[in-house]
């Protein structure tokens, strides 16, 4: 897995109108061009970036502070963004890598239990 490059591409996309234009014109080609500069992606990662699949990207370990901007770029409403991440965890399993995995993040319910909270209903915030 190449989480580093997935996040780096999103970092560039989030802050650069030129990268955004290229992505909007041809997502697959834009990501391929980025890969040609030395980045490595798996087919699954490319698919998640192209679709876009917010849930899969979160499962792979993309930092929410990067993913949030990507979702906003795609005009994904806040509640839908949160739900897509929950769906990603439900479908693919716990976060695999990155800041949320480092200290054992295992998903919303497990995290709530750590805090002594009841699992939160979906979409309440």
């Amino acid at each position: 897995m190449s989480l580093y490059y997935v996040q780096k591409y999103l970092f560039e996309l989030n802050r650069s109108e030129q990268v955004q234009s290229a992505y909007e014109h041809d997502r697959q080609a834009a990501i391929a061009a980025f890969a040609n500069q030395g980045a490595t992606f798996t087919d699954r990662e490319v698919q998640a970036l192209v679709q876009p699949d917010v849930g899969l990207l979160f499962h792979l370990g993309v930092n929410g502070q990067i993913l949030m901007h990507f979702a906003a770029f795609h005009q994904i409403e806040w509640q839908d963004y949160l739900q897509q991440m929950r769906d990603g965890i439900a479908e693919h399993g716990p976060v695999q890598e990155g800041v949320y995995a480092v200290t054992g993040y295992e998903g919303t319910d497990a995290h709530a239990a750590d805090l002594g909270h009841e699992p939160r209903s979906e979409g309440t915030h």
Binding site: H69, F73, W78, M85, G107, H125
Partner: protein, 278 residues
Amino acid sequence: MALVYAGICSHAPGITGRADQADPAVRDSFYAAFDQMRLDIEATKPDVLVVIAAEHFANFFMNNMPSYAIGMADSYTGPIEDPGWLGIDKVKVPGDRTISEQLIRHVMTQSDVSYAEEWKFDHGIMVPLHFLTPRYDLPVVPVNINCQGPPLSPLSRTWQFGQSLRDAADAMPERIALVGTGGLSHWPATPDSGKINVEWDQRFLKQWCSGDKESLLAHSDEATYLDAGQGGFELRTLIAVAAAGVSSTGVPAQGTVHFYEPIPIFSVGCTIASLKFA
């Protein structure tokens, strides 16, 4: 004394971007506290506003991540986010390269710091500016502490950095206002977004208000992550301000919390506080 104001505030993007989804009474009370903070800053007639922020991968990435960075430009732009999503139009924000450079040179005598002549503001700075300098007519010096991409700087170094900023400010003729902006407990941009640990927040604010160095520096990242979420790592910005509040004779400033209220749709316990210098 060239440091004329020191305070802290929240910066979550929902504060402006999801304003219509919050309880109007609570939201408006929070906005009023922000307005009062602006008036308090303006009353000190600052030459520059130094904002210690915890940017969210707008300028710095893991290919070259400074633990501490200070902007050194005559202007900045922001927000990087979609203006409709954030509720803040794209603007050019004035800076002051000369003041920045003086500040950086002073800080460098005590702390390692990077400088950046380009800086695109994200919500971490734009949301506070939206309330504190709504006409964008006060030069801003952005300061960043890496709170997003571990490994993160130890809190002891953050304290030292805050003291370095204070010493630098005191050595300069300009009147410098300082605002630190970061979350208390929050799980921003994750499925847990909206969760707020009020007890943890209030305990931290009590430590912050008393300038209790020992307690402030006792927060480990592991415990913070569990109790306050990854957003809690941003406590570094607040600790730096507490350190800046310590006088040259070692007397900590006393803080006052002007507003604290958990607003889940804003994803954070919304906070406005300031220090009164000894």
